[in-house]
Point group: C2
Chain length 216, copies 2
Amino acid sequence: MTKAITLKTIDKPGVLREITDFIANKGINITYTHLYMESNDYASTYIEFDDVDNVDSLVEDLLKLPEIVAAKTDSSMSEIWGKRIIIIGGGAQVSQVALGAITEADRHNLRGERISIDTLPLVGEEKLSQVIEAVSSLPRVGVLVLAGSIMGGSIVDSIDKLKEDYGIKVISLNMVGSVRDHADLVVTDPVQAGVMAVMTVAKTAKFDIDRVDEVL
Amino acid sequence: MTKAITLKTIDKPGVLREITDFIANKGINITYTHLYMESNDYASTYIEFDDVDNVDSLVEDLLKLPEIVAAKTDSSMSEIWGKRIIIIGGGAQVSQVALGAITEADRHNLRGERISIDTLPLVGEEKLSQVIEAVSSLPRVGVLVLAGSIMGGSIVDSIDKLKEDYGIKVISLNMVGSVRDHADLVVTDPVQAGVMAVMTVAKTAKFDIDRVDEVL
């Protein structure tokens, strides 16, 4: 099981180095970490690793570092938030896709899975291209759903990149524009598109997106 | 403006140390970073900083490190995903709260804001407590919305902690149980609860959650 800790540290250049140095010297491999500024004075650092026998003694040792104000053990992000469906688009469609995905994820999560539905309502070719490329920087993403009425142009390049370089599946609504031809699956009904996004990542669903080659 | 880079690195213990060491030696303060394993061989590292004059020359220098396979500049997470509303709960309510929040965020994002709506459909006292505590480990969270029919017990302790230690606002549906008494705002209609969560963080809305002290 992956183990995780959250540290509250003072904010000054080099603190993350101190922490990563300390952990690397113990031969521990960090599998996921994030750090952000909580305020002008403090930073929050979250660290996951999968090869530590005694996480409590690691926390005790870390608390001896002068930069660390507080430390606690946590469950991993995967255990808490699970796989992520990302929904991007605007207007009436985006909330309907989310409605389908959230309702379906609720059914799977009741049976012990963890699937999160993360939505950014947004329109505009340039903005959408930028956001779709940024999806590749997010951890635990399974499927991206494009929820709009018209998408094409540079958005297509971002989709191709995301699929090829990162293996993220893309579902598109049956809309005007060229994105339809670049998605793994095209779905007309927005609620169904959301449901199918969840089925694609769910362990308790018998659905293989790569075996569907029609517009639904 | 915050600047950001994404690095693709080989996966072995100490790589994050190499990178943070390199950046700290240049006197650059990291304001947000995350690293995760892409596969067995590669890791993805995303880094934000706010005090670099020439980010292109930093990228060039980083590419000289043997551990770094690829590097690109990015927009910051705040610019891409913006502030986050987290919605947690189950059943009919959770997707209705999301519907309200996504529709309202669409209206604000059209006017140049960035607000994301992140939803985890989940039920059960222990699971909810654990997830609500984990909200404090997430960056850029503005409001947590509790979307269910009955919540109390240990969930209340997690809410109090989140509010006190991290200043995150909590909106609860008007449900059975003690969470109502610990939320910043109690709303009966789930769609309205979602709308108000977005209004709480939106710059283009004239709404102050701390000035509302009634059950809507």
